[in-house]
């Protein structure tokens, strides 16, 4: 028996495989396909203080080994989550983290405060990196002062696991990570989507209603791995890696590069059972290489 459990700041996960926000709904969408309680953690879709209608359609474009999305944080607001969703997911035996977005620091703070009251929610993922909304999101994650201010204020009111999700659309990811750590993040997750664009040559129009959107999937894996490795070199808090993970080998690459856990996003669309396959694949890899614990491979890249 190998030990798959990992400690992630204040969280204990049964295994290092989580689902990425915005790609796994509230988890329940996948119940027909897998026992979602087998997953180490589920990050629910981006939640904001107030209801958001999201962007007009088309919101999606397929790209080589990836996709662009421009969902724009469509959600019914944090109160809806508390009243309607939380009771449903309450008894599922895994860690549900809420992905929190906002247009102002106050939005983030009030939303986080509300979620802090939910006993069964052990943490939030602070999304300072959504490229699909004009006012907020990514702007916070692309400069050190703004990243610092939002983490600082949320930290004051939020007592449980505070995971901060970084944007890859920056010159120096390490600077942002260090600022976020200094302001009290318990863990750092990355990467959110790369800002991209798709053009329909025949129609001579952008494919997305918003012209640009967020790129995810295997296409971004090399960039994600590089950033996870860079950040894991310098921060002391655990790092959660994601970006293009399609199978256990991809997940192991992130663990080797220094991630204590991984998130799987786009791959769920192609194979709704992928999370369970990745968990089993990591276990098989550990056995084959005679490791007793997943801890043994975290950051174990020989350079």
């Amino acid at each position: 028996m190998v030990d798959l459990s990992v400690k992630l700041g204040k969280l204990q996960l049964k295994n290092p495989v989580m689902t990425a926000s915005g790609t796994f709904g509230y988890g329940t969408e996948y119940c027909d396909f897998i026992d979602i309680s087998r997953i180490g953690g589920i990050i629910v879709k981006g939640t904001t203080l107030r209801r958001r209608e999201g962007n007009p359609y088309p919101r999606m474009a397929e790209t080589p080994s990836g996709m662009l999305n421009a969902v724009g944080l469509q959600n019914k607001g944090v109160d809806y989550f508390i009243e309607k969703i939380n009771p449903v997911i309450k008894d599922i035996d895994t860690n549900f983290l809420v992905n929190v977005s906002g247009s102002t620091v106050d939005d983030y703070v009030i939303t986080a405060e509300k979620i802090n009251e939910l006993d069964n929610i052990p943490g939030i993922e602070l999304n300072i990196s959504c490229p699909n909304v004009k006012e907020g999101g990514m702007a916070f994650g692309t400069s050190c002062p703004s990243a610092a201010s939002v983490v600082r204020e949320v930290r004051k009111v939020y007592k449980k696991e505070l995971m901060v999700k970084l944007s890859p659309n920056v010159t120096n990811i390490v600077d942002i990570a260090q600022v976020v750590e200094a302001e009290g993040a318990d863990s750092i997750s990355l990467i959110n989507t790369l800002l991209g664009m798709a053009v329909d040559a025949e129609k001579r129009k952008p494919v997305l209603s918003t012209i640009t959107g967020g790129l995810s999937g295997p296409a971004v894996k090399p960039v994600a791995l590089r950033m996870v490795w860079q950040v894991a070199q310098v921060v002391k808090v655990p790092v959660v890696g994601m970006g293009g993970i399609m199978n256990a080998t991809d997940a192991i690459e992130f663990l080797l590069a220094g991630a204590s856990a991984v998130q799987i996003g786009t791959a769920n669309f192609i194979d709704p059972t992928v999370t369970v396959k990745v968990i089993e694949g990591i276990e098989e890899y550990l056995k084959r290489h005679n490791f007793s614990s997943v801890q043994d491979i975290i950051g174990a890249l020989e350079v």
Partner: protein
């Protein structure tokens, strides 16, 4: 309804013409229950330009022979690959997805099913389903640019009265479906339609004018097909809703058309 991810076996690939194939799939296990109007998300293997699954309507289900039919039009690499599958090959599908057409109230209702091009796909199963449920007055109106775009006419004839239009007058009346004389002469109590958006909008306008119950089956760009990604929204009077879960079938009164 419970959704499944299944490896189905290609039993037959009937190339209807150089644009369309009818894939007949089967399984060693019993096929799950599926309703008319629902669709499947098909994984396309060995196709470098096909990263995501492709949504394809349930064309027909025969529980006695344990067959699922998909009617596929070649428009790009994904559909090209599907249309070149050979008997014995495996196709991975997630199904059944989405909602379904609404059963009419009275067995004697005069029902009109309108399909344009490959939009006829869900109509065959719907026509057979209605017939099996005892509906007596079913008309299927198929339209296309040319005779080559009118599909499965003989299959439809088993369940319904079939009428057609073609733009080049190679089959049935010349023109668009909405110009068919039956729309003037008959008094339909419900219309179900699937096809190109301009066609469906024209049908919807007709139904609205005549105050006829009308359901349309919408297309949209989809990533997951199961309501998880929120990529496939359409704008309704209630705001953005997912076509993959609250559709693909919508009553036109709900849309902002």
């Amino acid at each position: 309804m419970k959704k499944f991810m299944l490896d189905l076996i290609v039993k037959e690939n009937k190339q209807l013409n150089n644009q369309y194939s009818l894939l007949i799939l089967t399984s060693n296990d019993d096929l799950p229950e599926m309703l008319p109007g629902q669709f499947a998300e098909v994984r396309v293997d060995d196709s470098p330009n096909t990263f995501l699954r492709r949504p394809i309507s349930i064309n027909f289900v025969d529980y006695t022979t344990n067959e699922l039919w998909l009617l596929v039009q070649i428009v790009g690499d994904g559909t090209r690959k599907m249309c070149s599958l050979k008997p014995g090959e495996i196709l991975n599908l997630i199904l059944p997805l989405g909602n379904s057409f609404s059963l009419p109230e009275n067995k004697t209702d005069q029902l009109l099913l309108i399909g344009g091009g490959v939009g006829t796909a869900p109509m065959l199963y719907w026509a057979s389903y209605l017939k099996n449920k005892g509906f007596e007055d079913i008309t299927v109106l198929l339209g296309g640019r040319s005779i080559d775009n009118l599909l499965q006419l003989e299959d439809f004839a088993q369940y319904a009265k079939v009428i057609t239009t073609t733009e080049d007058a190679t089959h049935g009346e010349k023109g668009f479906v909405t110009q068919h004389s039956a729309l003037q002469t008959e008094k339909f109590s419900a219309i179900y339609t699937c096809g190109p958006t301009p066609m469906m909008k024209a049908v919807a306008a007709y139904a609205t004018e005549k105050n006829i119950f009308c359901e349309v089956s919408l297309e949209n760009t989809m990533a997951c097909g199961i309501g998880a990604c929120l990529c496939c929204v359409t704008d309704t009077k209630k705001g953005h809703v997912c076509v993959c879960t609250e559709g693909p079938v919508f009553n036109i009164t709900k849309l902002k058309w």
